[in-house]
């Protein structure tokens, strides 16, 4: 129970109503998606593996969760990239050589625009793409 002063000062204590709300949100994520929590974790691990084949990511800060807005379900992923990443993903091909994937022309033009997700000023500025000249495959 929140004391009068807690309420007066606008302090948010874990009242039983807040506990109820938090528990409801968690249980409904599972109910609505029919995806058990451990399955979600397993999926997250697999998604990270796939993305790592294309991008260097800050694995510790990856967050993938099910969310609901206006009764529609979303799988929301927040995947921070590492600093100094070329905007051209470099992937090793099957023989172990690095291959530069071809990017469409207009991509370079808007490359300086911030990414769609909220800018993360605290950490590395990894959400902006650099307009470096494309790397040559042989000096990669």
């Amino acid at each position: 129970m929140a004391s009068f002063f807690d309420r007066f000062l606008g302090r948010r204590e874990l009242t039983s109503a807040r506990a109820a709300k938090e528990r409801l949100k968690l249980v409904l994520v599972t109910d609505r998606s029919d995806l058990a929590p451990e399955k979600l974790e397993q999926m997250q691990a697999e998604i990270i593996q796939v993305i790592k084949r294309y991008l260097q990511i800050n694995e510790a800060r990856v967050e993938i969760k099910l969310e609901q807005r206006d009764r529609k379900n979303y799988l929301v992923a927040d995947i921070p990239l590492m600093r100094d990443q070329s905007y051209q993903p470099i992937e090793p091909d099957l023989r172990g050589r690095e291959v530069v994937t071809q990017e469409p022309e207009e991509d370079a033009a808007k490359a300086d625009a911030p990414a769609l997700d909220e800018p993360d000023i605290s950490a590395d500025d990894t959400r902006r793409r650099r307009i470096d000249p494309p790397q040559e495959p042989d000096n990669a």
């Binding site: 129970m1 309420r7 009242t15 109503a17 409801l24 949100k25 249980v27």
Partner: protein
Amino acid sequence: MGARVITITSGKGGVGKTTATANLSAALASLNQRVACIDADIGLRNLDVVMGLENRIVYDLVDVVEGRCKLRQAMVKDKRVPDLYLLPAAQTRDKTAISPQDMVVVTNQLRDDFDLILIDSPAGIEWGFRNALAPADEVVVITNPEVSAVRDADRIIGLVEAEDRHVPVSLVINRVKPEMVRRGDMLSVDDVMDILAIRLLGVIPEDEMILISSNRGAPLVLDNERSLAGEAFLNIARRLTGEKVPLLRLEQKGGFLRRLSRMFGSSNAMPGE
């Protein structure tokens, strides 16, 4: 097209479906609507006693469906209001005695003679719920500000929204205790709306007059004595007829709550809306 069919349901049992059906039916009839209510809880007939019509039942819904009587013969008239009828459930049969298609046929036969048809759904998400849902033009989900009731409401809303028919769903939050909400010991209307995210049709406070009225078999709205829950049901009935009645979320406003308590001349009144 005729009457609108409104199904009152909840998933969880004991949240106030039957109470709401009885009181909303009576309130709508007192607003000069022609109202039929149907008890779809086969085997656990209850709407008749809450409405105080149990002694006048001759035939029931299963008798109608199985052809033992005409639909008209099974309809029990409530003499306290101009145009209110009850179609009772069978007490000694089980829910499989009726199919969803039967419910559609029965309600279609009533549509021309009424403005509104309210269906009191049984608890659960199985057969009885399917029966009650089949003829619905609208669904009203009743819940309580409590984890298990909200969870079940979410499930029901999901099931209704998964239908191809796109039946509109709205929510009634019943048994709200503003004092507990203020202390942080009960989910608020906003909390529940945050989670369920559908149209809010109304809020009913916890009110011991509900029990007193069902003891007597006299819906609150027909009572001369004013009660907060009765007012809340009347407001919801008005909204169902299309009137714009503002929602007063009293439990968030301590000052207004106290003013209202004084207005109703009681120190421990629990206002709803």
